[in-house]
Symmetry: C2
Subunit: 489 residues, 2 copies
Amino acid sequence: MHAPLAEQSPVGHNASNPAITSIEIHAPAPLRHPPPELIDALRARFGSQFSTAAALCEQHGRDESALDAPPPAAVLFALSSADVVDAVRLIKPYRVPLIPFGAGSSLEGHLLAVQGGISLDLSGMRQIVAIDTQDMTATVQSGVTRKQLNAELQSSGMFFPIDPGADATLGGMCATRASGTNAVRYGTMRENVLALEVVTAQGELIRTGTRAKKSAAGYDLTRLLIGSEGTLGVITEVTVKLHPLPEAVMAAICSFDQLADAVNATIAIIQYGVPIARCELLDANTVRIVNAQAHLGLREGPMLLMEFHGSPLGVKEQIETVQAITAEHAGHAFEWAETPEARSRLWAARHNAYISGVQSRPGCRAITTDTCVPISRLADALLDSVKDVQEAGLPYFLVGHVGDGNFHIAYLIDPDDAKERALAERLSAQLVHRALRLDGTCSGEHGVGLHKMDFLIEEAGAATVDVMRTIKRALDPDNILNPGKIFTL
Amino acid sequence: MHAPLAEQSPVGHNASNPAITSIEIHAPAPLRHPPPELIDALRARFGSQFSTAAALCEQHGRDESALDAPPPAAVLFALSSADVVDAVRLIKPYRVPLIPFGAGSSLEGHLLAVQGGISLDLSGMRQIVAIDTQDMTATVQSGVTRKQLNAELQSSGMFFPIDPGADATLGGMCATRASGTNAVRYGTMRENVLALEVVTAQGELIRTGTRAKKSAAGYDLTRLLIGSEGTLGVITEVTVKLHPLPEAVMAAICSFDQLADAVNATIAIIQYGVPIARCELLDANTVRIVNAQAHLGLREGPMLLMEFHGSPLGVKEQIETVQAITAEHAGHAFEWAETPEARSRLWAARHNAYISGVQSRPGCRAITTDTCVPISRLADALLDSVKDVQEAGLPYFLVGHVGDGNFHIAYLIDPDDAKERALAERLSAQLVHRALRLDGTCSGEHGVGLHKMDFLIEEAGAATVDVMRTIKRALDPDNILNPGKIFTL
């Protein structure tokens, strides 16, 4: 499924970097692979933590996007912050790219070695450094995944809510400013990270932030690094806020006949101020796909999946309000799930959507959109975009964190069919233009990576992106940290 | 009260900048006042919006801190973003400092012209650009104050919760990453700003962020600018989140015999997860001062002032929980305030504390601390610090947003008494060191300004502050935007 496209259709925009065919390369840059003396130095320092084995390199040169590039020249498995410091210091004189790698679940090409270099795998940095039950904070190494952290918290009465779907590492989630299903209630990584430990492009180990809940002490480097996609520093440790496990949790499905009704019900729920914990949308086509792949037997219409957290009384209040709102929008009766097992079954529909979607068309790749708009504009952004893809006749699925105004249409393309790819890109661009006209953003949670660079310029303006470039050049003058992502230099 | 100290004791650390006596100047920089041809050019462009009148310059050369410096050479009253763009472009070739000025309520010397230059008064930019009731957002020019915005929102069912005490401008509140009494429930400016319009040091007008609730599109320049204290750009427009006016609001005072009980009750309230909207502490000494100045007749013991927001049922639940917790910590019965008038009277105690404190010692100046610690460390940070100032015998007052772990001791010094100033600075340093040992920050909400530069280095580390410096140098290579604040270059 991930065989480099290049081998199939070596068109190439640039002789120095011929393999990338699936995206337009802006200002192509030459590959900067490590010279033999650097390979030797890394072997000497890191022993078996360093490898140039082709299978490993290939595995580290791709992600969940529909993009391909030649693999990195080597993989370095960091086990400590000191490893990262030494890696940066050894590599820096050679100006070789270093691409931080967590769980490999990026959807935007963040992990691709588009300028060559070395993949820095942080997934072995899995230490829980400290959990403070009194202040509800946890400090973990950046390779710790969200599921690992929540398993560790199981008997503590607390949890870490950010759930982007994939079992991503916390470092990776910082790098892409991840959010996911619970963000409508608990916020994103932007709101839930207190402090970071980071290795700069100079090989300095620095700390940003403290465990205090708020601070006005100097530039907010924590927030600058969150969402910097590995281009400004390598995150080695993360201190996050934890949240008390809610006393009561109820999950429910509400099915609709019309997509517009499901969307308008969502808008009303949010505008009413219901502190809903999850509010996810699947359209009828996606429910059909999930049913076919995962045999869930769900009613095949547009569907809201919801979860309510709070005190028993508070949850009851929320549910009554939401039932009244969905009834006003021609929603069918709720299907309930109260026990953890029943909730898991219900959420399987949502969590299986991506896999089911991709599996529904064997051999396909998914080109995923990630727009987010102010809640009042959700219907305008979503309904026409679904109509567009349906009229175009391209297979797709639609899932959405609609409570946040964020949704994903994934266009399921035959990677060998240039016309299909072009059609998907055209639909994607139409959708983004629509979202930007509605005061929205091209990326709610996946990041810019390789695929949304033009959209970023369109959204923020060239002068704003120039400010980003200026910061990148100042902090990483040799352009060694994940070069070629977010913007070209 | 604000007569420049320099006139009284012109000691001076540096011949080029002789007037600053109240703080140690790190790497003193020469004054960069505008040459006559620049004055002429500014007069030609701005007419009566530009002035070199001594009284205006003096008024714009000070703030609410205990620091003094020579006044700026001129004041420019901007009325539009275009004015700010032109001001920067005219000034840039001359490398003359430009110091953004909002309401003048900084407590850390942010507005002082320590390197000379021109005060850029934005308080005339008072236009409400847009209020969106459906998405609960407002876009305003940066000179709009929080009270003006809330007056505008009066019949909308929404409000803007951030309340730093002073009627600050939203631009100023962005610049210092302000928070205040409601932050324990609603967050700080960091959490409540969606987007900015900013004039860069190059004189480019840029926009950061959109009205979407979340975004992963590129570097988080919005958060980088929030808390940058006017050193990275001049904020000209701010888009903020609004919040629904709570259905029910109740305010209450709880008095204690022991300060430790009031503090430990606060810790318990927060650790229990009560979504309290305000949780403020005054110690017995401060209640005495407020009573004497404002004749409020409050019981003269340590006191928590609280406010509860929510549905009638939710507020009732919160109050029952908090009453049980305060009773466990030997709190006296609540004194209630339900009507807006009764609440105003009760909150007068808190809002009068600063004025009453300063007035309690005629002719004094206040040296204010601003530490914030994780909630479990609040007692450790606060109780010993109060003991220290009481043992030292220096007049002081104590107020605190203790629900956030943030409190202020204001040392009330005779500005002519060098020994008192030194004693206050020693006590302040002791308190900061204690807070840093407890995983806290030297500034919860006032910013670094002139007074907390050393503390910032101690807190974040020299390498982290170097990253901030690198960003400043890259974005403002001529060092024209509020130079000499946060760190020295």
